[in-house]
């Protein structure tokens, strides 16, 4: 009996040893300043993020770092960065990413590496031809007056608002209730279905009001505007007495100038102090982003080619970041 037990303990010990050995190998990265390990930059699946990532990566390479790019999901990327499996995200959007980002910040697994000058906006949007049907747009009350024009069998008699991707959700139902609007939210699920509907409706000049954001390639291809809701205020989301509806919260629009941040793994400062500093300095404006995205969406370049060209054309901009 005793022998059997020791045997078992020994076997366990050996197993642990083997496993520990391989983990030790895995995590054995040189501890000196500015490690030679590659910095892993997250790539999402929309244009501006891809180009900005490539620009940032190329700049880090100029400064002598090894860089790798890995694709990642919009939300799961934060888990990955928090664990140190990935290291840098150059586009953290206030609207989309706030919750997931904040969770990693609170747990001390990620660090906020500062905001870009660029501002972002995410809200209800309509194509310009709707102004013929609904005079008074972009005001939200004017939209509400012709809600019926937006109705479909699923929502009739209410108007149909095509909401954003599911992992991107806004307090739209709350807002509709608080502002007393005759609309119902139908979620598009993912960005590409939003554009598919927009494209089809735009060609037929059908009524549509949908979720959109800026900066985005869509602005260059489709003419339209954001709906103007009462201006956003932090109190609007928590304090019912704020705004036009004294009983409910969310009687306002989304922020008109939301932030766009850079987020990095909390271990980055220790592992690559120089690179961390560069990331903190990186600062894109709305013009930069539009310019970079247009190179891909309009000129048909690949993201890495666009990054190269952007770097060539904007030497004075990034020189300041590197020094």
């Amino acid at each position: 009996m005793f022998k059997l037990m020791t045997q078992r303990v020994m076997r366990k010990g050996i197993l642990c040893g083997i496993l520990m050995g391989s983990t030790a190998l895995a995590t054995m990265s040189p501890a000196y300043a500015d490690s030679a390990e590659p910095i892993k930059i997250v790539e999402n699946n929309w244009t501006s993020q891809l180009v900005l990532s490539r620009i940032t990566g190329a700049l880090l390479e100029k400064a002598g770092y090894n860089v790798e790019y890995k694709p990642a999901d919009n939300q799961l990327q934060f888990v990955a960065i928090g664990n140190g499996d990935m290291h840098v995200q150059v586009e953290v959007w206030e609207g989309t990413h706030r919750t997931s980002f904040q969770r990693q910040l609170d747990a001390g697994r990620m660090i906020d590496a500062g905001s870009h000058d660029a501002v972002t906006r995410e809200d209800w949007w309509y194509p310009a031809y709707m102004e013929k049907t609904c005079p008074g747009l972009p005001d939200y009350e004017a939209l509400n007056k012709c809600a019926e024009a937006f109705a479909t069998p699923e929502t009739a008699p209410k108007g149909r608002y095509l909401g954003g991707p599911i992992d991107w959700e806004k307090p739209d139902p709350e807002r509709i209730e608080a502002l007393g609007m005759d609309f119902e939210v139908v979620n598009a699920g993912q960005a590409s279905t939003l554009w598919a509907e927009l494209d089809a409706a735009y060609r037929r000049e059908e009524p549509i009001v949908l979720f959109n954001w800026t900066p985005n390639w869509v602005e260059a291809r489709y003419d339209g505007k954001f709906i103007e809701f009462p201006e956003h205020d932090a109190k609007c989301e928590t304090d019912p007495s704020w705004g036009t509806n004294p009983e409910l919260t969310h009687d306002c629009g989304n922020p008109r100038a939301g932030w766009l941040k850079k987020g990095v793994w909390s271990g980055m400062e220790e592992e690559w102090p120089g690179a961390y500093e560069i990331i903190q300095n990186v600062n894109f404006t709305n013009e930069h982003i539009a310019q970079a995205a247009a190179m891909v969406d309009v000129d048909g370049l690949k993201p890495e080619e666009a990054a190269e060209q952007w770097i060539k054309e904007n030497e004075n901009v990034w020189n300041a970041w590197l020094n």
Partner: protein, 667 residues
């Protein structure tokens, strides 16, 4: 009750006249009575008890919170003294990384110091064409040559090889694990019964539900993609192994025993060859499911076709997305046809040795030559970008044409469908109070399988209720029921047709492969352009995907009916119709039932994808949980989907077993 049933069965079998009308009339009346009873009960309950209409919030068990807390603990805190739980999973990850790094080095990135790698496109194409020639025929060689040249010429070589390097590891891994599990379970029916729900859960829980814990435990990149894929791709292999091994006739096994086979010989020389057709279908399914996962894998760090495809979709470059999707299908077809040939390859054929030696020699020389020449000629190493072609503008034009021309007609059809079929049935289902729904499920279970089955399915049906997901589960049920019924109605006749004609069958199976691997993300776009975001688009997408197994398994089942049996039936004077209804279909019932099971599972699996076209079902709950980082809620919603699947599976399986027994078929 029983008399009516047998009467009905007998009369539908051919006896006409009064008894038939009588039986049908009685049946209709009973159905109407039952429906009236259900409506009355629903009405009463809704009006008398508030708790029956809306399940009270306070009765919901906070299981999801415990699960979240558990995974948080497991991922970040669990410490076994010497090492933490995450160290353990990360170590496993490291081990799995090796084969992946090897194929990736070979095909994509090369290894640090080794020259001449990654392999030039010409060499890779050559290797696979020659393998096709060796294992199959000139025809297969030409197909493989075409497949790989397609990837190069359409300029998707690099992402395709990225994906291929992952697939080359996952497929054998999942197939071997699935087969081993199948063999073990085939010998242990009790274990199998216990684990069967686990298989259902593995297959029908959408990935989005478990991606987050996988990412925490196994990191980011190829390995978690591999794990997520194996969870999803292995169950069909296990099931096919089980069904295949079970259907080997006891006489054959007896025969093997008498010939003095060892256990291993019995397995490899008798049981596997006898079950080959079903096992091959399992392998085909592993390949297809693996490639179907390519897009999902890109969400957790696997670069390749999936990532590029999502980028193209998000800027509405439909044509490009279509080409990338086609590349995924091409990889699937190439692998599938090659593995099919490999399994039929007979190395002991006359003259084979000489032929093999010739091809191998020729191949080695040619490959060495191309590898050596590659550094001197750019076009050999990477296909020259200047010579790539694209059909994207053409496809863009097609999609625009279709969505403009067909729109009005389809719009009317869609509105009719929504107003008179879909919305009323959804509302009816949502109107029914939950005690009535659960009672209905339990009664169905009781009628088909007795008290035990009733208890099982009632418990399963109650799961979404007590976890607080009743409404989204009902919406899911409505969508799935609609889609599955249509899928079966379409798939059964097509599978029947395919089983009658060799050429038609290979064409239909190619379409099946395409539907199964072509990323639904792509064909959702034209569907949305035509139908707008909503239930019709979602149900259409589910049907497109879930019809495939119905076709495949019906085809397989009918083909497996032995020629002698059919001959015997014809000899005793069966008409064609009698042959089909009385002989073939009953004999093919096990496969057909497996097909229905797989149709339901795949339909449920698609629910998560359908959430991408704006449904308010469990899929949406899962996606929302993912963005809130709420592991528990996501998993529970996933389990609710699985519970729907298992309920259906239990009921159908018991029913089919009873039918088989009634027909005197066992096993």
């Amino acid at each position: 009750m029983t008399t009516v049933d047998t009467n009905a069965a007998r009369s539908s079998g051919g006896a006409g006249g009064n008894s038939l009308t009588y039986a049908i009339g009685l049946r209709c009346m009973r159905l109407a009575l039952a429906a009236a009873a259900v409506i009355a009960a629903g009405y009463l309950m809704n009006n008398l008890f508030v708790w029956a209409r809306d399940y009270p919030e306070s009765w919901v068990m906070p299981i999801s919170r415990y699960i979240s807390a558990f995974f948080d603990w497991l991922g970040y805190k669990a410490d076994f003294g010497l090492f933490t739980f995450r160290d353990l999973t990360r170590a496993v990850s490291q081990v799995l990384e090796w084969p992946l790094a090897f194929t990736e080095g070979l095909l994509v990135s090369g290894f640090g110091g080794v020259p001449l790698l990654p392999l030039p496109w010409v060499t890779v194409t050559l290797i696979f064409s020659l393998a096709g020639l060796l294992l199959g025929s000139w025809r297969l060689a030409a197909i493989l040559l075409g497949c790989f040249t397609f990837l190069a010429v359409f300029g998707v070589w690099e992402p395709a090889m990225n994906t291929f390097s992952l697939v080359l590891v996952i497929v054998p891994f999942a197939a071997l694990m699935g087969m081993a599990a199948g063999v073990v379970l085939a010998g242990a029916p009790r274990l199998e019964r216990g684990l069967s729900p686990v298989l259902d859960v593995m297959q029908s829980t959408p990935h989005f539900a478990y991606l987050a814990p996988i990412v925490v435990l196994f990191g980011f990149g190829q390995v978690p993609a591999l794990i997520a894929t194996v969870i999803f791709a292995a169950p069909p292999m296990i099931r096919c192994t089980l069904v295949g091994l079970r259907s080997v006739s006891p006489e054959l096994i007896e025969c093997g025993r008498m010939a003095g086979c060892t256990k291993w010989q019995l397995l490899s020389k008798v049981r596997f060859p006898a079950a080959a057709a079903t096992l091959l279908l399992g392998l085909n399914q592993v390949i297809m499911q693996t490639l179907a996962m390519v897009v999902i894998a890109s969400l957790i760090g696997a670069s390749g076709l999936g990532h590029d495809l999502l980028i193209a979709l998000n800027s509405l470059k439909l044509g490009t997305a279509l080409e990338l999707g086609a590349a995924i299908v091409v990889l699937a077809v190439a692998l599938d046809r090659l593995s099919l040939a490999a399994s039929r390859y007979d190395p002991y054929k006359r003259g084979e040795q000489k032929r093999r030696r010739g091809i191998l020699l020729f191949g080695v020389v040619l490959c060495a030559a191309t590898v050596a020449a590659a550094p001197f000629a750019d076009g050999l190493h990477l296909y020259p970008a200047a010579y790539t072609v694209t059909s994207a503008p053409f496809w863009d034009a097609v999609v625009i044409y279709v969505s403009d021309e067909w729109y009005d007609g389809l719009q009317a059809f869609k509105n009719f469908l929504l107003s008179y079929v879909l919305i009323p049935s959804r509302n009816a289902l949502l109107w029914l109070p939950w005690p009535v729904v659960i009672a209905l499920v339990a009664m169905t279970g009781y009628r088909i399988g007795g008290g035990k089955l009733a208890a099982t399915v009632a418990t399963l049906a109650a799961f979404p209720l007590i976890t607080g997901f009743w409404v989204p589960t009902m919406i899911t049920l409505y969508m799935i029921a609609m889609a599955v019924v249509v899928s079966i109605l379409i798939g059964l006749p097509i599978g029947l047709l395919a089983s009658r004609n060799e050429r038609l069958s290979s064409f239909i199976l190619l379409i099946c492969d395409t539907l199964q691997t072509f990323p639904s993300f792509v064909y959702l776009i034209p569907v949305v352009m035509l139908f707008k975001v909503g239930d019709v688009a979602a149900i259409t997408a589910v049907i497109a995907y879930a019809t495939v197994p119905m076709i495949r398994y019906t085809n397989l089942g009918l083909r497996r009916v032995s020629a002698q049996t059919k001959e015997a039936a014809e000899a005793i004077g069966c008409t064609k119709r009698q042959l089909l209804w009385k002989v073939e279909l009953p004999l093919a019932l096990p496969e057909i039932m497996l097909g229905i099971n797989q149709t339901i599972m795949m339909g449920l699996f698609m629910v998560a994808i359908a959430a991408l076209v704006g449904t308010k079902d469990l899929g949406q709950q899962i996606a929302r949980a993912l963005s809130d980082g709420d592991t528990g809620r996501g998993l529970i919603a996933g389990l609710c989907i699985a519970s729907l699947g298992i309920t259906a599976d239990r009921i159908l399986r018991t029913w089919s077993r009873k039918r088989s027994e009634a027909l005197g078929l066992t096993g």
